[in-house]
């Protein structure tokens, strides 16, 4: 089956004050695949996601989601496109005055006409899937970082979106917790077949989940390749990144 791009970014530029952060980003995100955007801190990886989500308008260039241009999209169309989005924010962005149950139930209550019983069934199902049973009545402040991420992921998945964005999903988690989150991600993607866009620093672990790896360096995408090709790439910038982040051991072979 041929791969179809659901998100296409061309010549995306964004400047803050005197600093040009994105200097012409070109990137295609394929349907049903997992694309990981890697790169150094402060390069603008999360900024790319914010442009796709329509939270920021570009200075120039185009961001198309399902063929619709996000840079000049109207409110109504933007709302329609966002119906297909799920987002796991870097700090989870849970509503701190709501319980875990209410956080996960919020999109169902606001965007559907389901009864409270139906909502309760779906939310409990997601709570079970995320392995956070017994946390229904807790508030985000009472949860550990890993649990907050899982609640955030449950909320992102609750309406079965077609595209899910993960902004640094394992930041602040220990090795065991991040492995657990990746396991949940892997299972949910197998089940729900969503397109995933992940911004991550967690190299090389994240490569195991990726169908494509894109390196953002100096405001441009240096390459968007399958992980094996990425690690073996001759591009000097990608090569340097692979050697710096994974060490020479990884630069010529796949992680086992």
């Amino acid at each position: 089956m041929s791969e179809r791009p659901v998100i296409e970014i061309n010549g995306l530029r964004k400047t803050f004050g005197a600093i040009e952060v994105l200097k012409g980003v070109d990137l295609s995100i394929m349907e049903g695949k997992t694309t990981v955007i890697v790169g150094g801190s402060g390069q603008g990886k999360s900024l790319i996601i914010k442009h796709i989500l329509g939270l920021i308008r570009p200075d120039s260039g185009s961001v198309q989601v399902y063929g619709k241009e996000m840079s000049n999209i109207g409110k109504k169309d933007l709302k329609e496109i966002r119906m297909d989005f799920g987002v796991l924010f870097q700090n989870s962005a849970l509503f701190d005055s709501m319980t875990v149950f209410d956080n996960i139930a919020l999109p169902l209550r606001e965007r559907t006409h389901m009864s409270e019983e139906e909502i309760s069934d779906i939310v409990n199902d997601k709570i079970e899937m995320m392995d956070i049973v017994g946390s229904n009545e807790k508030y985000p402040a009472q949860l550990s970082g890993g649990m907050r991420k899982r609640v955030g992921l449950a909320r992102a998945l609750v309406l079965k979106p077609r595209i899910i964005f993960f902004d640094e999903p394992t930041t602040g988690l220990d090795v065991a917790k991040s492995s657990e989150l990746y396991r949940i991600f892997f299972h949910t993607q197998q089940q729900l077949k969503y397109t995933a866009v992940i911004v991550s620093h967690d190299v090389p672990k994240i490569f195991k989940l990726a169908d494509y790896v894109a390196l953002l360096n100096n405001g441009v995408i240096q390459g968007c390749l399958p992980p094996e090709e990425f690690q073996l790439s001759d591009d000097p910038v990608i090569k340097e990144f692979v050697e710096t982040t994974m060490g020479p051991l990884y630069s010529g072979e796949m992680e086992v």
Partner: protein, 262 residues
């Protein structure tokens, strides 16, 4: 010289931008009240937070305002032998001016500041971004119940302030200073007209919308504050700005509404 001009230009542009942003914010927020779906529970909850929880402080300040008015009024009126007009003096001062203005300033300090801080924290912790990404309109979800609650609460709080103030005036004027009880109420009955009450209601409605608009907008746009509005300091700066701007705007609009309605 050019540096100074540049700074002046940048300062003016920032404030023109801010006025435009606030205008659009107010427009979208008011529009979101009349747009379906209509959910009554969030409005009741906000009315409780903004209105009900402010009642005690409104009663307390209303009573003392009425008492001071009676004290001052009696001593001034007695110089001209006009103690009989104490009731109307207290009532007119409260209904036309002090009730709406003081109730609005109390509401700004008690509920407006909290509202600004709450929305500011939501903005800084990406909760508002999360709402937008879930295709939930923040204006409909956050602002509409607050505006509706402000519009409901403000006239009621003002009415409570006025009634308690008149009672406080009675306690001091009649109870302590010995003014005639019948004259206190009859002068009020004779001199207070529907126009006075209308002015009080219009002011309180207008102030209610202004307080909620300024305090919510300051929190909503905390990230756009000049010089950076991030973190706890940004929220604290936004809250201070919201309270100061609300108080100044209340007094400014008090003058404008009085000039128009008198």
């Amino acid at each position: 010289m050019f540096d100074l001009l540049e700074k002046l230009g940048s300062y003016c542009l920032y404030h023109v931008n801010q006025i435009g942003r606030m205008g659009m914010f107010l427009f979208y927020a008011l529009l979101s009240i009349i747009r379906p779906p209509y959910k009554i529970y969030p409005i009741i909850r906000q009315t409780y937070l903004i209105g009900t929880l402010s009642i005690f402080v409104i009663i307390f300040i209303g009573a003392f305002t009425g008492m001071v008015l009676a004290l001052q009024g009696y001593h001034t009126l007695s110089k001209f032998g006009a103690e009989g007009l104490l009731g109307s003096a207290v009532a007119l001062s409260l209904i036309r001016e002090l009730g709406p203005v003081l109730a609005a300033i109390i509401l700004t300090g008690r509920a407006g500041s909290a509202m600004c801080a709450e929305i500011g924290v939501m903005r800084n912790s990406e909760q508002i971004d999360a709402l937008e990404c879930m295709a939930i309109d923040p204006y409909k979800y956050i602002m509409a119940p607050k505006f509706a609650a402000g519009i409901i609460s403000m006239p009621l709080l003002t009415a409570i302030f006025i009634v308690v103030g008149i009672a406080g005036g009675y306690a001091v004027g009649v109870g302590m200073l010995g003014a005639n009880e019948g004259m206190y109420f009859s002068s009020m009955y004779n001199d207070v007209t529907f126009d006075d009450v209308y002015m009080g209601i219009m002011k309180s409605l207008c102030f209610g919308v202004l307080i909620i608009a300024i305090c919510s907008a300051k929190g909503y746009f905390v990230h756009l504050i000049r010089g950076g509005g991030f973190g706890a300091e940004g929220v604290s700066k936004a809250t201070t700005d919201a309270v100061v701007l609300s108080c100044v705007t209340i007094l400014l609009f008090d003058f404008i509404i009085t000039s128009v309605l008198l």
